[in-house]
Subunit: 332 residues, 2 copies
């Protein structure tokens, strides 16, 4: 594929999720001109999904009255593992049946535009750094805090991918020795303590051990139905057991953030999803515990903030991937 | 100060320790032409120490029959905290009475050469990466494992300092919740578990709880005299208590390395001092535990190796600082 036209004004983004596809046309400031969504129907296989993305791209360009020549290229945000050099996707958990899919090559051939593929956590990090809560800083760590805990790292104004696109797995730091089992096979990972399902699991255990918690009422009387959202709602109603779960969550998160800060000392840590929805409960306790995990000189340079893009992060993640690819080196 | 002469062949290094000063003349391959050592006598105050370094530099240049014009500049390795931009040193623990010392300005004025100041952990990381066990890689983490645990990080072929020269504090990751107290004021830091004094403390506790350990014999019959070296010697004689301390040490180190690997996925982790002296005991167990802390895809890209420079690291640390400063961007 030819080099991208670095001077072209517009960018095309493909967000490939397990349930939906989104194709977005935007300018370099992240202003969205047009957006199209369709179900992924991943079971149709990768070739059919790529054909859908190509159709959606042409449709989006037509709606925005843009020719391919006005586009710098295509950014793709997709579940990993994947290889950003070759653009091959290796069996993402949310796309069953996809194995060694040459996504970049297929899309470039279908669209005659240069394509850049990035895993969704790194792409979201780029989005928050380009357009969201991390805008303007040089060193940023992004963390999702949802079904899993993933991350992406911006250092010296560039995405840091590591030697084979595996940097940023912040969810699998060990926080508690011999702690609860994690989906990755380890024990005591940050994800096994602070992801949504992990918060719910800790809350269910507590509710069973200490009957009478408001969490059970909010879950319709069945402790098995407690979710992370139940915990946050009950904590807002001053339920002591829920408050304890929230406090524990903040403490574990702070240990994880402390490790990141002591190793990398980023200027900004942007945390998405649960922290955004429950920032009234979590943000100050996380900051207070983090202060204990670092020195004043280090703590003084880091800001912990909720993600800024909300539900737009997926669209802008794909746009941020192509923006970063065509941006002059070192510019923010 | 004028810009360094990037084409000059030779480099001058100043290693400022709490007890000794070393001035070294070397070429860009780290080949040492001449070296001079003197006691620091830090109590004379920073001005007197700088005067000594200037004298030693002139003496070393004379011995090596070099004129200042043949030198690219001076690299300084010194205890931190310090500011690499301004070259001001702020109260290093090993240099009592030094507070806001404008080391770079004083040395530049005394020697009429450009001076680059770096904290000793970062400088040692540069040395191992330029001349030692990390030579040729793009992403490397260096860890000391001695009286304390410090570190330095090379990413994409450059030293990563963070926004205010505080990145790389790998010794203060929390490894054990509510673990032993650390000198930094926290609990359960890697340093509070795996530094030399911390290994000795754990061993003394174990020896008191389980009388009859060979460690006590080797310490002259007094558990209070057990050192990290005693532990390693007793482990080599198959003392079960010492073996347990060694195994714990490897396990804690692997948790810390696992955090680093999951965040940064460096190609090489270089560990100095205790790991070098006790590599027969520690290296394989650390690698085996680390394998459990990561995925195969990630574990497969990282090599954990003992430091390669031994006692020469201090001299070469200072040389590596000036080498990095005058090396073309991005070259290794």
């Amino acid at each position: 594929m030819s080099q991208p036209d670095r001077n072209a004004t517009y960018l095309l983004g493909h967000d490939i999720g397990g349930t939906k596809l989104a194709v977005t046309v935007a300018d370099r400031d992240g202003k969205i001109l047009h957006k199209i969504r369709r179900p992924t129907e991943a079971e149709r296989g990768p070739r059919a999904v790529v054909a859908s993305l190509a159709d959606m791209s042409r449709e989006a360009m037509a709606h925005a009255t843009l020719s391919p020549a006005e586009l710098a290229g295509v950014g793709v945000s997709c579940g990993g593992p994947l290889d950003t050099e070759t653009g091959v996707v290796y069996a993402p958990p949310n796309l069953p049946g996809w194995d060694e899919v040459p996504l970049k090559a297929w899309l470039e051939s279908a669209l005659s535009l240069p394509v850049y593929v990035e895993n969704d956590a790194n792409a979201s990090a780029l989005a928050e750094w380009s357009f969201g809560a991390g805008r303007g800083c040089r060193h940023m760590v992004y963390m999702t805090m949802s079904t899993g805990i993933g991350g992406g790292i911006i250092l010296d104004g560039r995405l840091f991918r590591g030697p084979n696109d595996t940097a940023g797995e912040v969810g699998h730091m060990t926080i508690v020795e011999n702690g609860p089992a994690c989906g990755c096979g380890k024990r005591g990972c940050l994800e096994a303590l602070c992801s949504g399902p992990s918060i719910a699991r800790r809350a269910r255990e507590k509710a069973r051990a200490r009957p009478g918690s408001r969490m059970v009422d909010l879950a319709g009387g069945d402790p098995a139905c407690i979710t992370a959202e139940t915990v946050m709602d009950a904590a807002r109603q001053d339920d002591p057991a829920a408050r304890e779960i929230v406090d524990e969550t903040a403490r574990y998160m702070a240990v994880g953030l402390g490790n990141i800060v002591n190793i990398l000392n980023p200027e900004v840590i942007v945390i998405g999803t649960i922290l955004v929805k429950a920032q009234d409960l979590l943000l100050e306790p996380i900051r207070a515990y983090l202060r204990r995990e670092t020195w004043p000189r280090v703590y003084g340079t880091v800001r912990v903030v909720p993600a800024g893009l909300g539900d737009a992060v997926g669209d802008l993640a794909a746009i941020a991937v192509i923006r970063q690819a065509v941006q002059p080196e070192g510019s923010i």
